[in-house]
């Protein structure tokens, strides 16, 4: 340690004053969707909603969780046109995607419980957000705690015309037998229409010998 530290102490002591006195959080009332919307409108972010979805500040009813998540989806839906595609809004959208996505992960950090409504909200988001964020949204959808829900969501998304629908096919193919069965039925029923998704599904079908190989 340098001998000059006392001087540094003195300078810092003078320059860095204590911040304002903060009050300790005590027994806050449950967050509401309106508050979340207001916070988003004011650029204050979704940290509090995210904690509520993960039940990190105590138990939160499913109804309240749904209200919070729906308000976040509604906020994204409310951004239209070029505004929705702006970099600043992409940051907000990304934070919403991850707030909901992380709350739904089956592998949760200590003290947190998966939010069971995450998958459906991620699905809705994937259909309306900027292309640059869809792939990670689909990934988070594939990781929701309820595997059968993940399967159903991926299957639904694979049948959309979204240009990232192909990522659903990729994730389904990684879900082993149950995913492959789903892919086969998608192919048999000709439900996949997006060209890239169709291409990948065909490649899988060829490899699985659902079709004649050359």
């Amino acid at each position: 340690m340098s001998r000059s530290r006392p001087l540094l102490y003195s300078l810092l002591t003078v320059l860095l004053l204590p911040g304002p006195i903060a009050s300790q959080p005590v027994g806050r009332p449950p967050l509401t969707g309106a508050q979340v919307m207001q916070a988003l409108r004011e650029g204050r972010g979704v940290g509090h909603a995210r904690r509520a979805l993960q039940q990190l500040d105590g138990p939160v009813s499913r109804a309240v969780q749904d209200e919070l998540a729906d308000s976040m989806v509604a906020f994204v839906r409310g951004m239209s046109g070029s505004m929705a595609r702006s970099e600043a809004n992409n940051v907000v959208t990304k934070s919403i995607v991850y707030a909901i996505g992380i709350s739904g992960l089956r592998d949760q950090a200590a003290g947190s419980k998966p939010y069971a409504g995450a998958g459906e909200r991620l699905f809705q988001l994937a259909l309306i957000i900027d292309r640059s964020l869809v792939a990670s949204t689909v990934y988070l959808m594939s990781e929701v705690a309820d595997r059968s829900e993940a399967l159903a969501l991926l299957r639904r998304f694979a049948t959309t015309s979204n240009p990232v629908a192909y990522q659903s096919i990729m994730h389904l193919a990684q879900m082993e037998a149950v995913g492959m069965r789903s892919l086969r039925s998608l192919r048999d029923q000709n439900l996949v229409t997006e060209p890239n998704a169709k291409r990948i599904l065909h490649a899988i079908a060829s490899e699985q010998e659902w079709v004649k190989r050359l």
């Binding site: 903060a22 592998d107 640059s132």
Partner: protein
């Protein structure tokens, strides 16, 4: 200057007066002292001896206990010229990413206790919060900026909050630009990944990552092909201090090595087909090779007929156009991978998360977003339209035979 409440100040003065051998009260404190510096660290350890009151001009502030105090001369608080007691949280104002940051409570009196240290990055969209139970100092490696706060409790008093900010410099940017590359594939490279369409329709060329494989990974671009296949980054957890427990990406090893390839069917190392199915082909090849051995598409088109019928010219044009087409896919992929939205190293290296779960979700999400960006840009090298080459000889049909046909390459 953050003043403590009057009731607290009075109490502290009383304690100091009692503890001072000279019996100097706060009210009597001189405005300028010439007293030698006192080893406040020793005082904090309870050694007896004369103690200056902590108020009055030039009165020393409390040196932090523990390692920070061991080799320090007692710091002084310049221009502290009245009898006010103080509690200040002092933090390293700026640290380079990964360097140590320190915070300590600077008080006018040694009998304060510090509890409930907290760090908060203040980002409601990506919150990072760390808590620490006690101690007069809090220091350790810093990877995230934020505000450190502490609750300081005077003897018998109520906790008083103090806070200070630490700014962490940006991490040296990582980039995979030097790990990204591509070239024409050698024979057999990415061959198993070629899409098959059934019937006589085949892809003339293909572009993919070197680690592609049949099926879902047939157009894998990155290595590893999927984020959960092998570890492509290492993580580290901050061991101590205000960022203790935060998890970050330590290093990234993912790469992208693109290969372009011509369908083996049209390469010189491709499969050979019996010439007997077509008398004209059979005779022509026999005239050149002196036997009726099976021939590849390359041999049949470029050698058996010489320059007659245009087979050689058309086939070579098809091959050259296909390589060029795939080369455009590769070039587009490389440009995309080196752009901010495609540079996987750059995307994940700033990640600092509360726990491994969140870090994994973020890095894997970034992997898929980057993949989509690169794939999209790579595919967008199609400009529309089709170049058609013919006649060329192909071994097609059912039963298959050598037939004059056309080959197409989309532009």
């Amino acid at each position: 200057m953050g003043r403590v409440r009057p009731v607290v100040r009075f109490y502290l003065c009383l304690v100091v007066a009692v503890g001072s051998a000279a019996g100097v009260s706060c009210a009597d404190a001189p405005q300028a002292t010439t007293e030698p510096l006192i080893d406040w660290g020793l005082v904090a350890r309870g050694t007896s001896g004369p103690i200056d009151p902590p108020c009055g001009g030039g009165a020393p502030a409390i040196a932090p206990l523990g390692p920070l105090a061991l080799d320090s001369a007692a710091p002084t608080l310049a221009a502290f010229d009245d009898c006010e007691d103080f509690i200040t949280l002092v933090c390293t104002e700026y640290v380079a990413w990964g360097d140590n940051g320190s915070c300590w409570v600077n008080t006018s009196h040694i009998y304060y206790s510090v509890s409930s240290w907290n760090f908060d990055n203040g980002n409601p969209n990506d919150p990072l919060v760390v808590s620490h139970p006690s101690g007069l100092t809090w220091s350790g490696p810093m990877v995230a900026s934020g505000t450190v706060s502490a609750w300081v409790t005077p003897p018998g008093g109520s906790p008083i909050p103090v806070s200070a900010s630490i700014t962490v410099g940006p991490r040296a940017p990582l980039s995979w630009a030097s790990s990204v590359g591509g070239r024409k594939g050698n024979p057999n490279e990415i061959d198993p990944c070629f899409p098959t369409y059934g019937g006589d329709s085949v892809a003339g060329g293909f572009t993919s990552g070197k680690d592609c494989s049949a099926g879902v990974l047939y157009q894998a671009l990155f290595s590893p092909a999927l984020p959960n296949h092998t570890s492509w980054y290492t993580t580290a957890t901050v061991a101590s201090g205000p960022n203790k427990g935060l998890v970050y990406v330590n290093s990234v090893s993912a790469t992208m090595q693109i290969r372009t390839q011509l369908n083996r069917l049209f390469r010189p190392d491709g499969p050979a087909f019996a010439v007997s199915s077509n008398g004209q082909v059979s005779n022509a090849c026999h005239a050149v090779f002196g036997n009726f051995n099976a021939r590849t598409h390359a041999e049949t088109n470029t050698q058996c007929f010489g320059t007659n019928w245009g087979y050689k010219l058309n086939f070579e044009a098809f091959v050259a156009t296909t390589w060029a087409h795939e080369g455009r896919h590769m070039d587009s992929a490389l440009v995309a991978a080196r752009s901010p939205a495609g540079d996987l190293h750059a995307l994940v290296s700033p990640f600092v998360k509360q726990n491994t779960t969140e870090l994994t979700a973020s890095t894997f999400g970034a992997f898929y977003d980057a993949y989509d960006h690169v794939l999209t840009r790579s595919l967008s090298s199609h400009t529309g339209g089709t170049d058609t080459f013919g006649p060329v000889l192909r071994f097609v049909g059912s039963p298959s035979s050598w037939t004059a046909a056309t080959l197409s390459v989309s532009q």
